[in-house]
């Protein structure tokens, strides 16, 4: 009896650890402690699972300890070795593995059921199929998201006209077959569950395929929420409250992030999932055709920056691609030494995952009070002497404010054109991921500085040093 009590207490404390840890994770000062406490909760949960009383169980501790050692070493090394710039990819992979684990569990449970080693009623089958479906989408979806983030897969090459219709049909068929399986039970034969599993795995890929570019942060948070839900569903299979609580918490946090990301783009989740940015934006005004952009010389840019009162750097995905965060910080230091007030304006969907820019800049040692969010940045911009845009495009597009025909119309953007001067660092005049013209480049306060972001910033550093 006492033994049972300690096991249950450990599960309970594990669940409290998750809740408390996530609570602390949502405030900067306590976040690290929060992560530690959640980790502690995980440790307790695993210990409880190892020692929970199970009548007549063979235990097979050798298998379990071996697997845990392999998993812990692989996970630890991967997490320690990964470059900070590859963080979105790493998080995607980890997320996919959680989903894969749920798929494996559901697969084994189905196998046991069909071989008469497990009795299941309809409710039990429904839960297992839910675990299978959600886990499969989280798994293959995350893997494709990883491949996209890593640049292994070109967004435009994995999607085709009418992709969403195909996706919806596939989802309907998969769910339909799943329902049939639940109704028929064992009578349906072993082919059906295998077909359902494979369809679900394909659907995961296909579901993420048409979504790319600037919509990546939404998909990543959504997949995160799916892997949580699959863990919760698996908790129902084993009647384990801790798994249910942990999984639901992750599902909720993923959902909140998804909603935040959608709001930051002023689009509904459905809109993100159905219409890729680039495909729906044909009504954009193309009136900018004969306008010319004005370039600035390196020397001028350096002088403007060095002798300003206040400067604001607006980073975007281009900063991540060029890995220019450290050079950015170097310029920041040089300017600060001359008394310039340097701030960074961070748009919520800048980059490819929620908070991407914050992580990059933190890696370059930029203190986080210098990072302004959308609202603070917009109220500071009219009093800013000079804005430097490093690899951002759609999040500084004035069309979102004043062109109702633009696909991003209504999306909250950084109003950089309200600052006194704007310098845009850009590789070429190609449009951003959204494939939309950006009138900002033709604005009279805007000057362009073409070239690779890192190259340009390095030259700028050298130029500033000569002043």
């Amino acid at each position: 009896m006492a033994y049972n009590f300690y096991v249950n207490l450990a599960y309970l404390l594990g669940a409290v650890g998750f809740v408390w840890g996530l609570r602390l994770l949502s405030s900067p000062d306590s976040a690290r402690r929060g992560n530690f406490i959640a980790g502690l909760g995980m440790g307790l949960s695993i210990i409880a699972a190892l020692f929970a009383p199970m009548e007549g169980a063979a235990n097979n501790y050798g298998w379990i300890v071996g697997a845990m050692a392999v998993g812990a070493i692989v996970g630890y090394l991967a997490a320690k070795k990964v470059k900070m710039t590859a963080m979105p990819q790493m998080v995607s992979i980890f997320n996919g593995l959680g989903g894969a684990c749920a798929v494996v569990l559901a697969g084994v449970e189905l196998y046991l059921f069909y071989h008469g080693k497990r009795m299941l009623d309809t409710g039990g089958l429904v839960i297992i199929l839910l675990t299978l479906l959600i886990g499969a989408v989280a798994f293959t979806g995350s893997m494709l998201a990883y491949a996209k983030l890593e640049g292994l897969v070109d967004d435009r090459k994995v999607t085709f006209r009418g992709h969403n219709i195909v996706n919806n049909i596939m989802l309907l068929v998969t769910v339909g077959l799943g329902v049939w399986l639940c109704v028929e039970g064992k009578e349906s034969g072993t082919t059906l569950p295998i077909v359902v599993g494979i369809l679900a795995l394909i659907y995961g890929f296909s579901f993420v395929a048409p979504i790319g570019g600037a919509d990546m942060p939404v998909v990543i948070s959504l997949l995160n929420s799916f892997s949580g839900l699959s863990a919760a569903a698996a908790g129902l299979i084993y009647g384990n409250n801790l798994m249910l609580v942990g999984g639901i918490l992750v599902g909720a946090s993923g959902t909140i992030l998804t909603v935040l990301m959608c709001n930051a783009m002023n689009r509904s989740l459905l809109n993100v999932l159905i219409g890729g940015f680039g495909t729906s934006g044909t009504s954009a005004a193309k009136a900018t055709g004969d306008q010319v952009v004005k370039e600035v010389t390196m020397n001028d840019a350096a002088i403007q920056l060095y002798y300003s009162q206040s400067a604001m750097i607006v980073p975007g995905y281009g900063l991540a691609v060029a890995q220019a965060q450290k050079v950015c910080k170097e310029i920041d230091d040089l300017l600060e030494a001359n008394g310039v007030d340097v701030k960074y304006a961070i748009h919520p969907v800048a980059g490819r995952m929620p908070g991407h820019m914050n992580v990059l800049l933190a890696e370059a040692d930029v203190p986080y009070p210098k990072l302004l969010d959308l609202e603070d940045a917009n109220s500071a911009l009219p009093n800013t002497d000079i804005v430097v845009i490093v690899g951002a495009n759609d999040v500084v597009n004035p069309a979102a404010e004043d062109d109702p025909g633009s696909p991003i119309y209504g999306m909250p953007v950084l109003k950089v054109w309200e600052a006194k001067n704007v310098i845009v660092l850009k590789r070429s005049m190609r449009s951003g991921y959204a494939g939309i013209e950006n009138p900002l480049f033709f604005h009279d306060r805007t000057r362009m500085l073409f070239g690779d972001a890192k190259d340009t910033l390095t030259k700028l550093v050298a130029e500033i040093k000569t002043l």
Binding site: A67, N95, V108, G247, I248
Partner: protein, 103 residues
């Protein structure tokens, strides 16, 4: 319908738990500053590694000669462990960077 009533009545506590956890989850995480979006996502992702508990229970109750279950269960434990261990370590690395710059 009768089955549903019965399901509801017998699993009442579970349903309470489910609903309260959803509410709690939304409440706990609702106001996150942008700076913590990535670490929160990554930390939550590590928590979803709790699915490893299921994998451990599965291997424990498998028959010692049921290699299908054992091998897949082994795989499940590895996957869950990579997710959990890697997730917490990576989150810690991120938060460590945020920490040291506070002057």
């Amino acid at each position: 319908m009768e089955t549903f009533y019965q399901f509801f009545n017998t699993n009442l506590i579970l349903i309470y738990l489910l609903i309260f956890t959803i509410i709690l989850g939304f409440e706990v995480i609702s106001k996150v500053p942008t700076i913590l979006h990535t670490p929160l996502m990554s930390g939550a992702n590590a928590v979803s590694g709790v699915v490893i508990v299921g994998a451990i229970l599965l291997v424990r109750e498998s028959a010692p000669d049921d290699y299908f279950s054992l091998i897949l269960g082994f795989l499940g434990v590895v996957l869950g462990m990579v997710n959990a261990a890697g997730g917490f370590v990576v989150t810690d690395r991120m938060l460590e960077m945020f920490k040291k710059k506070k002057k």
